[in-house]
């Protein structure tokens, strides 16, 4: 039986030769993403800004009558609704700002939701109300803060662990790769205007998990090679480590993409944004492990004797086997 090998043996791509241009491009992209996030802003869901969201499916129609809906709801006098298509063509989400005074009296926003759903159902008998969300401004601020805090603390905690297990340069490298991944993903959300809600925070966390996994695998190999090849120049050693783990990187990423593409194509609409974010994260994460997390070690000046005291019996055997000792 012949097994599949996506990466031929003895592949030797000199990834690090292009580290400067890649870093330049990445830094530019990060800057652009940040600029976009601050100027254009993210399309926050009601989770984060407060407000009301009504999801409607028009069961007997192919395409939701968005223009009509906008007029009907506008006529109610609660302000202009934001109506977006979600998933199928006949599904929409209607978003409203919370009416004045809703912060002190929740009954006001409840009344608004009722009037909107009643109006929609009266005008379109086939409208099925799929859900109503109503989040007060106070709760939404809190959700945003706790979500971001969890994200921030998780990144810091992880970096500290890597610093302890490896060297400080590795901790910094992993943290930088994380910031890179999160920034680019946020940039994508800013560009496309996809809704950014609490579920996307979970997607970001997943993405960080994957990316970190990749980074650690490469770092682990760098650590091992640093012990083995004390004389090798660092860029060469990093290239060797990336190449040695390349087959694993490709197989793992392919496996994940297979599952994610199935979820994207066949999965429910509610998780589309979420799956899309993770899928993007696989590419960004793999890229950042190779081009962000590894080259930074050169610039941060990892010493080739960083891991010498822990030289183990296996490594010595290794050298004996190769006739180096």
């Amino acid at each position: 039986m012949k097994l599949l090998k996506l990466i031929p043996d003895d592949t030797n791509i000199r990834f690090l030769r292009w580290r400067v241009p890649f870093y330049a491009v990445s830094l530019l992209l990060m800057a652009a993403s940040l600029a976009l996030v601050f100027t254009k802003g993210l399309n926050f869901g009601v989770d984060f800004v407060g407000g009301q969201l009504v999801r409607v499916t028009f069961v007997e129609e192919q395409v939701a009558p968005i223009a009509e809906l906008r007029e009907e709801i506008d006529a109610l006098g609660y302000g202009e609704p934001i109506i977006q298509q979600v998933g199928e063509d006949n599904q929409v989400s209607i978003r409203m700002k919370l009416p004045a005074g809703a912060a002190s009296d929740p009954a006001i926003s409840a009344a608004m939701a009722t009037r909107i759903t009643e109006t929609v159902q009266a005008a379109h008998p086939d409208a099925r109300i799929d859900g109503v969300d109503s989040v007060s401004g106070k709760v939404s601020d809190e959700l945003f803060e706790t979500g971001m805090l969890a994200l921030f603390l998780a990144s810091i905690g992880i970096s500290i662990y890597i610093w302890v297990r490896f060297e400080w340069q590795f901790g910094v490298g992993a943290l930088f790769a994380l910031v890179h991944d999160v920034t680019l993903t946020l940039g994508l959300f800013a560009v496309t205007g996809m809704e950014f809600d609490l579920n996307i925070v979970a997607a970001l966390l997943t993405l960080i998990g994957y990316s970190l996994n990749d980074t650690i695998v490469i770092y682990d190999r760098i650590r091992e090679n640093l012990k083995k090849f004390r004389k090798m120049p660092l860029p060469e050693l990093l290239d060797l480590s990336v190449n040695e783990t390349l087959s694993r990187t490709v197989v793992t990423s392919t496996s994940l993409l297979i599952t994610l593409v199935a979820l994207l194509v066949l999965g429910p609409d509610v998780i589309f944004g979420f799956t899309a974010a993770i899928t993007l994260g696989i590419f960004v994460g793999t890229y950042s492990s190779i081009y962000m997390a590894a080259p930074i070690l050169v610039w941060l000046g990892v010493k080739s004797d960083s891991f010498v005291p822990s030289e183990s019996a296996i490594d010595r055997q290794e050298k004996v086997a190769r006739g180096e000792a």
Binding site: M1, L3, L143, A154, A202, D220, T259, G267
Partner: protein, 532 residues
Amino acid sequence: MLDFPFFKRFSLWLITLACAVAAIPSIVSISGYAWPAQLPSPGEVNLGLDLAGGSYILLEADRGEVERQRITAMEESVQAALRRADPRIEFGDMSTAGGRLSFLLDDPTRVDAAREAVLPLLGTGITRDWELEVVDTSRIVLTPTQTGLAAALDTAMESARQVIERRIDAIGTREPTIIREGDTRIVVQVPGLEDPEELKRLLGQTAELEFKLVDTTALASDIEQGIAPPGSEIVPYAPGSDFEGSQIAVKRLGGIRGNSLTSAKPGFDPQTNEPVVDIVFDQQGGARFARLTQDNVGKPFAMILDGQVLSAPNILQPILSGQAQISGGFTTEAATELAISLQSGALPVELKVVDESNISAELGADSIEKGTIAFVVGTLALMLFIIVTYGRFGIYACVALVLNFLMILGIMAVANTTLTLPGIAGFVLTIGAAVDANVLINERIREERKRGRKVIAAVEHGYQEASRAIFDANITNVIAAVLMFAFGSGPVRGFAVVLMIGIATSVFTAVTLTRMWAAGWLRRARPNDIVL
């Protein structure tokens, strides 16, 4: 590394199968069939509202209101205690301004007697609920302590939770989840309920019923301007009542609360045929009600619900039976709801809906169906890819993957956790990590073979060397999961829980179990070469 004695193999299989079997009832019920009640079940994974449909309501209490209530209650107790003292302690200028209760003794020499009288009210625990201070020799100031306030808030929220539970039970809703969150919040989740209006009305009603004497000395012009005579307060009439839109002055103290009822039922007034609520006081409440009506025959008294007057009839004769009828221009529905609320007891504090979300069950069912199909297709494609890439070792990895899935579900079922959308993300991440562990191991075995190691040594080395990276990667995920659980809210926590369980099971299945199978095969077949 490759040594697996019998007892070790036996216990590994036992753990695996026990967890996997625990998942069966959950799988059956998620697929839409009911798990037969005769069969034992370790519990099931609940689907979150975002998957199954239903209503989510987040209620919040006002901390300040609890504090104010507590001071008012203290004011009444202190007055009673000072009057009971022998001889009676005279005082004046009682005020609750600034969140503190202060009053002036008429006779400064009785400071010690007053202190003695008030002392039992200050809390009996290790830490005082109130601090007592004497200012300028004759003014006594009581300040609530933080611990006292926290305890009061805790008690209020706990009893609020129980009241909510009783009210929801009364309208016959199935399997609600009612949990406290933080200091001042209560989360109510009701699967399957799509229109929560009735529920919200029920929960929004504090249902604090009070009977207070009407202050007949107040001038109509003062009442209109909202000025109450000393010792009285202005209360508006409730919407729907006979004098809707106007106000009335009632005596602040000396009334009774309707929280000591044995029953409350909707009914009709025999004369007017108007919907009313018939209430029966318990013994103590009945006695107090009897005294109030006896002492004030011919005077009007107001029935006040949640700070609004329902009606203010004259007391025609003393009511000694402990039964009363509450009227206030109710509809039949309103009378029924009020009866439920009164029967279940008053909420100790007003609760406001601050976050609400309703998901239709149809959408939920649709999500589950599509999600399941996508998951199965994705997993099968993934397995095919892994087997094509790693052959025999790929099969081990796939079996481990299925067992991993079952184990996560099984443990979640036993722990009675809820699976939400972010939880599925956690699933995807752990499955990814499990696949990655096997990829790492198999790639390493390949490498070791290429370097010329013999089969057994290569497998042994593969596991050993790969374990280090797997260990580090999983520890970082654990760190992330723990921090997310500790600091995140709702969805983030749901993600973290699945991640924590999944990390444990995926290391177990992807590393330990596959190693056991590989070792068994190597021992039996003693291959000279492996296809990898």
